[in-house]
Amino acid sequence: MAGMIRSYALAPLRGLFLALLAAVGLAASLPLMISIALVVTYPAVLVTVRWMTGVSRRLAGDWGRTVVEPPYRTGTPPVPVQREDGWYEHQGQLYKSPGYPQFFLRMEWLTEDPATGRDWMWLLLLGPLGALLALAGPALLVAGVLAVAGAGAAGRAAATATGLPEAALTWWGLLPGGPAWQAVAVGVAAAVAGLLAGPALLRVHGRWVRHWLGHASRSWWHTSGFGAWLSRGGHDTWKAVLLLGLSLTGFTVFLVTLLLTMVSGGFGIAWLAYAIRPMVNHYRRLCASWGGIELPDPYRAREPVTGPGPDGRYRVGRTLYATHDGAHRAGFFPWILGDPATWRDLLWMATAPLGALPAVVPAVLLGAGYFGLFWQALFWPLWAVPLGLITGIWVSPWYMWQLLTLGIPAAAAVPGWLSVPIGLAAGLLAVLLARPVLGAITAWAWLLLAPTRSARLAQRVVHLAQTRADAVDAQSAELRRIERDLHDGAQARLVAVGLSLGAVEQLLDRDPDAARALLAQARETSAAALSDLRDLVRGIHPPVLAERGLVDAVRALALDAALPVQVHADLDGQPPAPIATAAYFAVAEALANAARHAGAGRVGVDIRHAGGLLRVTVTDDGRGGADPARGSGLSGLRRRLATFDGTLALHSPPGGPTVLTMEIPCALSSPRTSTC
């Protein structure tokens, strides 16, 4: 009983505190957002934000009797991996110590957490909205008390002293003819209602906190068809608005570029166009994933400085430079300005706001219509009633409609309550329009930001040159290995056999016993030479692959493996020999890894060909957690497959299972009947 009284008595204070907390959050969010710009403080900002939302979560549990689990990603951020040469890499940049890469990785890890975005939404919008709920109780109580007190003599004096508006004084019965007893009755009723509703409102507030700050839960509403359709429409609208915002940033940069061009000529364009590329690429990625289109990066790769020439100088265009660095710096401008993608970027920046303008339509419909007319009407009692009680100024529930239709005489004839269905209809219209609008914006982006045919060809040439260089390197390394193996193995042994036979020739008459012993030795040495050659051949091109093709060769591999391997194959013919060899060695490496590192008990190999792709999948039931960046064997395989435009994907969650998938585009030739 005492606890219940306590909770009712404390509820208004708690509501006040929650409102205060929301106000602090809102006030702090602006400086916090600004300090993100100082990259160094970014994790600290996020930690602060998490601490602030954490307080809301805890209070929801303590006061609102609603347990809210923190929704953040568990585990630890990825750690930087040291390269073989001792440096640490992060996005193409090398660092001597792991500090910076670790910092960036942690930053990305925190940012990618979907709960981070919702934390910000809470501070900026959802927390203050929820505060209205928490504040409703204490506001009613205070308003009621004030109304009663105002009716008394002390209140009268205080009111005149503070100069309250005339409407309020009338309401409180201070002016002649005002019915004081009404004010007292309404005041008492409001105060009692505010007091009694306190704990319930705190619980509702707790639910609000759990909904936005707890685990993002998929309620039946979101999984049902209509609800999913609605929320997708809402998301599409926000995406369109975000694209519009980014376009405006692009346009601003374009204006600055124009200004700089006047001052500094082409240099300004080059620097700015280069600096803006990450942002344009970000826009490309967003458009690609939201619009369901392919929008790869169109930029030309930078060619390394060639030379020095015979005169010891480096040539860039028609200019000679004494140092490599100078040539490199000078090469920057032709590289950027000679790339058509730079000019297309600029064209996009100049026209982007135009292209993204349609975003305004669903945004206004959703913002003014749905939130302004429909939701606002629901929230109206929370603030308008206490306000009316205190000041006597009663705001119309349809004030938003009146504001929005200001100056339209026809709208005045519409009854105010109709604004609620109108708002709902506007929201539905926004949801209907959002997808086509988003499609139009991404289509515009595609028109200007997608690589042109020649840019794609140029990139393809770079890719082919790279994979060809890799293939040539790999081949020459392979030849060196073969040469070394032959030199130290079979060749040396054959020399020994020759020496033994020479000695035998001399000993044959004088000492037949010694000759016989030498002959036996020669035979053993030749057998060892054969064994060496056999191992060598296996490493170059396994005989079973030549004799039986890929599937049976993999079966033979499975039989020799240290652990049970199931092979499933569905091939109507043979892949080309080089591809079969690459696939065979890839499977061999995968099986060896499964046995050596994964601690697997069983392995499955699946080989099939569909849609012009040879797909080989190796699955093991080991402990998982394999890191593709760490294994040099894996990156070697990837390079080897890249020669055939093949890809290698590793999926290895901690705890397994590990799935290695290789895909190589190829056609199968001459069907062969399998013997198995």
Binding site: R523, S526, A527, L530, S531, R534, V537, R538, P543, V544, A546, E547, R548, D552, R555, A556, L559, D560, A561, A562, L563, P564, T675
Partner: protein, 216 residues
């Protein structure tokens, strides 16, 4: 003993013919392609065929396929397969019909004429001659086969020789054991591997090989 020989390298073919004839065999035919081999095997019905796995015209596993085809028509036709490399996959295919008269050896084994001729005779008599390298690979996979781990080192050695296709007498000679001691070891092995004991040397070998193959 009449032999059909299939080997595409002239020097090796002639060497094998000389080796076989020097040890009292008659070479009924020495051919160099897969189709010729199948025709010769069906025409001559030799006591034993000595066959290279890789033969023209395709230079894949023509020899092996011809030998298997001939055995499908003439069940139990003794075939000794020679190769530059040994694969468990091929060993399985050769042993699959379970009728014996199968040999599968590395080409290196012809270096030792006595052992090679012993293998030829064993196969001709319907026995088995498996290359030690095949057996070693079969036995190398401890994680796959728990009962194998229960064998003593001596029993393992006996099992290896038995799987190669050797008789108790030959095993005893090689390990310096009496024949009865070998008999005791084999009985113990069969008990541990849960195989039905058999007095017939060849059937015993096939049971062991089937066990090792099936354990995968």
């Amino acid at each position: 003993m009449r032999v059909v020989l299939a080997e595409d390298l002239y020097l090796l073919r002639e060497g094998l013919v000389r080796l076989l004839e020097a040890h009292g065999c008659t070479v009924a035919a020495a051919v160099e392609t897969g189709p010729d081999l199948l025709a010769a095997l069906l025409a001559h019905r030799p006591d034993v065929a000595v066959v290279d796995v890789r033969l023209p015209p395709t230079n894949t596993d023509e020899g092996l396929q011809a030998a298997l085809a001939a055995r499908r028509q003439v069940p139990g036709l003794p075939v000794l397969v020679l190769s530059q490399h040994v694969e468990q996959l091929y060993a399985r295919e050769l042993l699959a019909d379970g009728t014996g008269g199968i040999g599968y050896l590395l080409k290196d084994r012809v270096f030792n004429a006595d052992q090679f001729l012993d293998a030829v005779r064993r196969v001709a008599a319907g026995g088995t001659a498996m290359d030690p390298e095949v057996i070693a690979k079969l036995l190398q996979q401890p994680s796959r086969n728990v009962p194998l781990a229960r064998l003593t080192p001596r029993e393992r050695a006996v099992l290896e020789l038995m799987a190669e296709g050797r008789s108790n007498a030959a095993i005893g000679q090689k390990l310096f054991l009496s024949e009865s001691a070998v008999g005791k070891h084999t009985a113990s092995i069969f008990g541990k591997l849960d195989l039905a004991p058999s007095d017939d040397d060849n059937r015993r070998v096939l049971a062991v090989l089937a066990y090792l193959n099936g354990a995968a």
